[in-house]
Each structure stands twice: as structure tokens, then as C-alpha cells.
């Protein structure tokens, strides 16, 4: 499963993308944030306030309770500031 990061989430983690293989117990977007947070201080820092983290699966915005099964690309990023 490919995971991509943007803006300060990318900067805190120190990479723009990676491939991860979470255990089967990680079912939802929220679960994945929790699991990623355990992978090191940089992840814990990036995800320290989960409620501000936005997520997308295959280019579509999703909520923390969205199931990740079948996802090709999951993105994590801060609230958007375009326009």
C-alpha cells in the first residue's frame, strides 16, 4: 500500500511517499494513522493531533472511519489552503 504525505506532514515525516504493509488489524484510515504513529518519533510528531490530519484514498477525500481495504494510494496532509 502506497502512502503519500504533503505539506508539513511530509516535512515532519521526512519523506514524500513510502510503501507500507500494516497488519490486518489496521482496517480504517484512523487505524492507519494510529499504526503509522508508532513507527518513530517523526511519525508521532506528524500525527500528534490526528483530528487536524486530512486523508484521501485514491484521490478522494475520506473520513477516519473509512475502510482502507483495496486502496492503491492513501494520502495524509494538513487542512488545505489553496485558492
Amino acid at each position: 500500500m502506497k502512502v503519500v504525505y504533503f505539506a508539513w506532514v511530509r516535512e515532519r515525516i521526512g519523506k514524500a511517499e513510502e510503501t507500507v504493509e500494516p497488519p490486518a488489524a489496521v482496517r480504517t484510515v484512523g487505524d492507519l494513522i494510529g499504526w503509522l504513529s508508532t513507527r518513530g518519533d517523526e511519525y508521532a510528531y506528524a500525527f500528534e493531533t490526528p483530528k487536524v490530519i486530512r486523508a484521501a484514498i485514491d484521490h478522494t477525500h475520506v473520513r477516519p472511519d473509512t475502510v482502507i481495504a483495496g486502496a492503491r494510494e492513501i494520502a495524509f496532509f494538513p487542512p488545505m489552503t489553496g485558492g
Partner: protein, 156 residues
């Protein structure tokens, strides 16, 4: 009836008159064109002068999100077309960040669609702005106002 929908994400600046000309070329059913230009200000209100903004986007998703909102605007209002150009990269104060154009036979549709697109772009399009000041650089925080503005278009 044909529709002109153009979406571009680019480093380069754009010219509003040229975009209007492209949107209205060789048709005479357009009575109203609204444009919204977003411009880099010299201060984000933090007190320090902004020396530049750097815009990052999520390639692929940004285009898809904008296209989805463009389709929604075309369905909700009687538009003849619309154009959205959003720049990425480093942008100096006074320079263009983005532009939305909407064209219609009548003004109400053009105004409403332009406001709708701007509210959605601000709140939902995956772009992020980093501000440089003399003291360093930091990511600009999202405004809850923008979420509220976008929510007013949600259908019940």
C-alpha cells in the same frame, strides 16, 4: 450547445484577458463573464511581511478535485463554460496565485458559480501555501471560515 471547461495547474503566470478570450471565442450566447483572481498579498496578517509564498499540490488529486467541482458547477448553473488556472511553486507578493472564470448568458449564474468554485477550492482542493518572511518560513493555517463558506453550498 458545447461547453468549454478548462483546468490547468501550472508554474507559469496567466493573463486574464487571454483566458476570457479563450472562454468566449467564436460564440455569441455569453452575456456575462465573471473572473476571480487570487493574488499573493504582502502580509498574511501575522505582522511580518511576506517575501514569497510557495504553493504545493497533490498532483492527480488536485486535478481530479477541481474537475469534480467544475462538473458540479456546470450541472448546478446554466454556464457555457468555465476556466480554472491554479499556479504552484514560488509566488511573490502582487503576483497571481489562481483565477476562476465563469461564463453564462446571464450574470447571476456566472457570479454564483464563481463563488461556489472559490469556496470549494479554498476548503477542499489539495493545495498548501508556505509563507516566507524575513524571520523564516511556515505553513499557512487553514481558516475555519473557509470550511463554513464551502458548507453553505452543500445540498440537504
Amino acid at each position: 450547445m458545447t461547453y468549454n471547461v478548462t483546468i490547468r495547474i501550472q508554474d507559469a503566470d496567466f493573463d486574464v484577458s487571454s483566458e476570457i478570450a479563450a472562454l468566449t471565442a467564436s460564440r455569441t450566447d455569453i452575456g456575462a463573464v465573471v473572473t476571480f483572481s487570487g493574488i499573493c498579498r504582502g502580509s498574511e496578517g501575522s505582522g511580518d511581511a511576506t517575501t514569497a509564498l510557495t504553493l504545493e499540490h497533490y498532483p492527480g488529486m488536485a486535478e481530479a478535485e477541481i474537475a469534480r467541482h467544475a462538473d458540479e458547477a456546470m450541472n448546478r448553473w446554466p454556464l457555457t463554460g468555465l476556466t480554472i488556472v491554479h499556479r504552484v511553486g514560488r509566488i511573490l507578493p502582487g503576483e497571481n496565485i489562481m483565477v476562476v472564470l465563469t461564463a453564462s448568458a446571464h450574470r447571476q449564474a456566472a457570479f454564483q458559480a464563481a463563488e461556489f468554485l472559490m469556496d470549494y477550492l479554498k476548503a477542499h482542493a489539495p493545495f498548501w501555501k508556505r509563507e516566507e518572511t524575513a524571520g523564516g518560513s511556515s505553513w499557512i493555517a487553514a481558516k475555519t471560515d473557509d470550511d463554513d463558506a464551502a458548507a453553505r453550498w452543500d445540498k440537504n
